[in-house]
């Protein structure tokens, strides 16, 4: 097996495809500073930061034998200049000295950082990138102590609107070309290029063009400095003020992995979380601009309709009201599950429906033909259609449902985390005489005005649960922000999720601000059942999901432990059918 020596330590590797030295070292846990290199992009070797000393064993030209010195050690031919490790392939017998052992390399890296910083503005105190800035971090670690640059720095435009979502601060750019390579090689829009020459250059669109790529904001993440910023969230929060929670986005059925950045229980930003099985390194713009609904228009606690108007009530009262409504309708309750709610909540709804002998829940599909692009956007605008279908829910048949409603077949409707009026299933007029229990996220829910019992539901950033993507990838979500009231399960899950660079479960900014009085389905549904004298009690969503994985074949293997952070690919329905 080929082997390579890094700083005196010999490492063997599989030689299927010669890895690049930089990636190889990073994989081995050897940190090499770099800016332009990105594992998903081509290698331009233009930042010149990842310098190392490289030597290869000397071989006799004719015999091909390794040359040895008097002591029998293999002679090493050192390359005369420092090499950029990103562009060199690791080969058998290669000997590498990094900054850990070589003064020459340390000097080279320091010199290069001095150059990079020569014209880089000292914006760190107001820069959004500060705190998680590769240039800042690597300057501290490998850079010079001061600067010998005593001249006026180059001035370039500070606020260039590249497109609807991306704003450029050209002075901060270090010309790594990650952004232009992204538009060329990943998104394929070719919208960005470098303009001007030498020290005056920076990325820009062609004249009159907009950077309106639906994936434009990925350039913000891969930008190693604060040059490309989100028009939406720039200057809103510092990196170290926010907690970062791994989760998934719910704008579409792709289940792209993301981090939710939270300060004072408000979502401030959404950034991609690498997952090779789902979204690689990327996130669609729609996924990350969709977070305001977690902060705004949130309900102020449960409400019950009394004398024709919705009035605030206690959770006990609203559970009782919802239970009454179900009890009175007997088995004539229409249960609507939701492709926006978690598998756990839908499963509990199904058990509630079973408990009162009502029909199995159905769900409202939300598709937008033509929206999908075969990459990270899908026609389906809900995150969990696969999940509810795997539970056996069928989509509603609009016409039939309306006629059934007119014929009085349903005496009550129980809606889990959806909006039948806004989705066009019913007119608000039609529902005047039918009592409705509604679990809702936002006060903008158009079914809310006709609801009789309104139970605010925890959104994806406030709950624990499972979603199944269009590709059958089952993934857990974790609470990123806190809700009113205490839940040991949520607090524990949040603590476990936030062990990251930006915070701990005991961050001082965990406070009571902006907490929404809402409850996850797996709390309120058993409470409603209890008011109906039915037993839906469980030990938490983890146990519920374990039950689902054990009882429902379509969820085979989808336990919390198995899903972890990367998720589990479930067997496709069609494969199971053929296997059976």
């Amino acid at each position: 097996m080929p082997e390579i020596t890094v700083d005196g330590e010999t490492i063997t590797f599989e030689n299927e495809e010669e890895p690049k030295l930089l990636q190889f070292c990073l994989d081995q846990g050897v940190e090499l500073p770099h800016f332009c290199y990105h594992p998903a992009l081509s290698i331009p070797a233009n930042c010149r930061q990842c310098l190392v000393e490289v030597g290869t064993p000397a071989r006799d030209r004719e015999s091909g034998e390794l040359e040895r010195d008097e002591d029998g050690n293999v002679k090493i031919n050192w390359m005369p200049e420092l090499q950029t490790s990103c562009s060199i392939s690791a080969s058998d017998g290669m000997v590498v000295k990094t900054h850990r052992t070589s003064e020459k390399v340390r000097r080279g890296q320091k010199d290069n950082l001095e150059f990079l910083l020569a014209n880089h503005p000292l914006d760190c105190p107001i820069c959004d990138q500060a705190g998680h800035c590769p240039l800042q971090i690597q300057s501290y670690k490998y850079g010079p102590e001061g600067s010998r640059f005593e001249f006026r720095k180059i001035h370039k435009p500070k606020r260039v609107r590249l497109g609807p979502n991306v704003t450029l601060d050209a002075e901060r750019c270090i010309n790594c070309t990650r952004c232009t390579r992204f538009t060329e090689e990943i998104s394929g829009s070719d919208q960005l290029t470098i303009i001007e020459r030498g020290v005056r250059n920076y990325p820009l669109t062609a004249p009159g063009e907009e950077f309106d790529d639906p994936y434009s904001m990925n350039t913000i993440d891969i930008c190693p400095v604060g040059a490309l910023t989100s028009s939406d969230s720039r200057f809103q929060a510092r990196a170290w003020e926010m907690s970062r929670t791994p989760s998934i986005t719910t704008t579409n059925a792709k289940g792209s992995n993301c981090f939710y950045h939270v300060r004072d229980n408000l979502i401030m930003d959404v950034t991609p979380r690498p997952n090779d099985a789902v979204n690689k390194f990327w996130l669609a713009d729609e996924d990350r601009l969709d977070y305001k609904r977690f902060n705004n228009d949130r309900p102020e606690g449960p409400q019950v309709r009394r004398k024709g108007t919705l009035q605030s009530a206690s959770w006990e009262e609203v559970h009782e009201a919802a239970a009454d409504l179900v009890r009175e309708a007997g088995e004539k309750v229409l249960f609507l599950g939701s492709a926006r709610a978690t598998v756990e909540d839908n499963y509990l709804l199904k058990r509630l429906a079973d408990a009162v002998d009502a029909d199995a829940p159905r769900f409202i599909p939300h598709t937008e033909p033509g929206h999908g692009d075969g990459w990270l956007r899908t026609d389906d605008r809900t995150p969990n259609r696969q999940g509810v279908e795997r539970l056996g829910f069928r989509p509603v048949d609009e016409k039939m449902l309306r006629s059934q409603l007119d014929a009085g077949e349903y005496a009550a409707i129980y809606v889990l985390e959806d909006d039948p009026v806004a989705s066009g299933l019913f007119e608000a007029e039609d529902l005047k005489d039918v009592p409705i229990a509604l679990h809702h996220y936002n006060t903008t829910n158009e079914t809310l005005p006709v609801a009789n019992a309104a139970l605010p539901a925890a959104t994806v950033v406030e709950t624990v649960g499972t979603y199944v993507s269009e590709d059958g990838h089952a993934q857990r979500v974790r609470p990123a922000k806190e809700i009113k009231g205490t839940s040991r399960i949520l607090t524990q899950a949040m603590g476990a999720a936030r062990q990251d660079t930006h915070g701990t479960p005991f961050d001082k900014w965990h406070n009571d601000q902006n907490r929404v009085d809402c409850r996850p389905g797996w709390v309120s549904l058993p409470a409603v059942a209890e008011a109906l004298d039915r037993d839906l009690s469980h030990e938490g969503p983890k146990q519920v999901m374990g039950e689902v994985a054990g009882n429902v074949d379509a969820f085979d293997g989808a336990t919390y432990d198995a899903m972890g952070l990367a998720g589990v690919r479930l067997e496709a329905e069609s494969d199971r059918a053929t296997a059976a």
Partner: protein
Amino acid sequence: MPTENGATKVKDWRNYDRVLLPPIQDLHKLEVYENEYEGYEAIRSILGDSEQDPEAVTNEMKAANVRGRGGAGFNAGLKWSFMPEPDDRPRYLACNADESEPGTFKDRQLMEYNPHLLFEGILIANYAMQIDACYIYTRGEYVDWIMEMQRELDKLYDKGYLGENIFGSDFSTEIILHKGAGAYICGEETGMLESLEGKRGYPRTKPPFPAQNGLWGYPTTVNNVETLAHAVLVMRHGADWFSGIGAESHPGPTLYGISGHVERPGVYEYPTGMLITDLIDKVAGGVRGGKDLKAVVPGGASTPPLRADMIEGVTMDAESLTEAGSLMGTAGILVLDEDTDMVSWLRRVAHFFQHESCGQCTPCREGTGWIEQVLARMDEGKGRIRDLDLLLDLSNQIEGRALHRGRLHRRRRARPAGGSGGTGVSGRPIASFSRRMFSLLSAIRQTVMRKT
């Protein structure tokens, strides 16, 4: 006097008969070129002669030891032989006519006065390497000659010298004239290829070399204008004739572009291996106003300059110049007289490199501007002694660490005659910055002391 086989030895340079730029009126016209210069006879005889297969032409070129006139001085025939075997992929020749090195203006003379020599040379190269099309990447500022050359090219297409089945043979090839937009870096061979592809002129990393992965990813050879012109002479007079001219290890006629403080600046055609002192004193009429010489830049602005006391006995060929601490480059000789403010001159050169740095990689992008600012401060009389150390430091921080420079530098060490075929651009500007710093240090130091 010409020797037995007609070649001129260096010491007879006064009797040298010009072959690249002969004194023929209107030679740029096809009729004149054909009637008075035996034009297109070389390619005609190659195509008509079954003995002269492509490999024989390449071998003849290799034997003549035509060292690339674009600056790197690599054996052109050897470079041609690096092309992979013909397959169903297209193959290209890129003629580097983007002459943009300060102090270099020889190719312009060829394109202005004898463009058909270039075209015929391209036809020979195309045949030798079985090339489908040649792109001539011309410096955009040469707009008059570009138009003139295009007119002449159209004539060639009309007469069947270009296009399908040229000269009635079964060989087909094309020449496409391309106008650059004025960027120094597009004279670097891979930067030029990028530019030809319609992209930003950023040099590529090597390897892969153009012969493997050139224009649009296909096998490509890059040659300088003068190099290709020599192909005609080699095929017309034979490899022995060519290699018998001038310096033994760097033979052939060459165009010296002499500029700066001399009485008669201009382009002069003489054999290689001329004494620099002869070129300045006898060919160009001596230093202007009878002044003393201070320094000479022998091969375009990116080659290290030589002080007046360093050029005694130095001849214009790769070996002698390398020994003296400089490079042959493009043989664009810049002469500086005793009154030259070296700091001021260096500042001007630094400004050029700062302005023309493509900005792709960090050391050159940031370093060239910084160096210029330090030099500007010194030039304005505000220099500090530590600036000298800073300049040296910055030069060393750039050298060998920049993108395409570092590679070329390495290659040069491994193979002294390593070639890349740019118009003097390839590899030199930055790598030599450091050396220039060394050789000019005493001059700079004196200036600084005087001014502060």
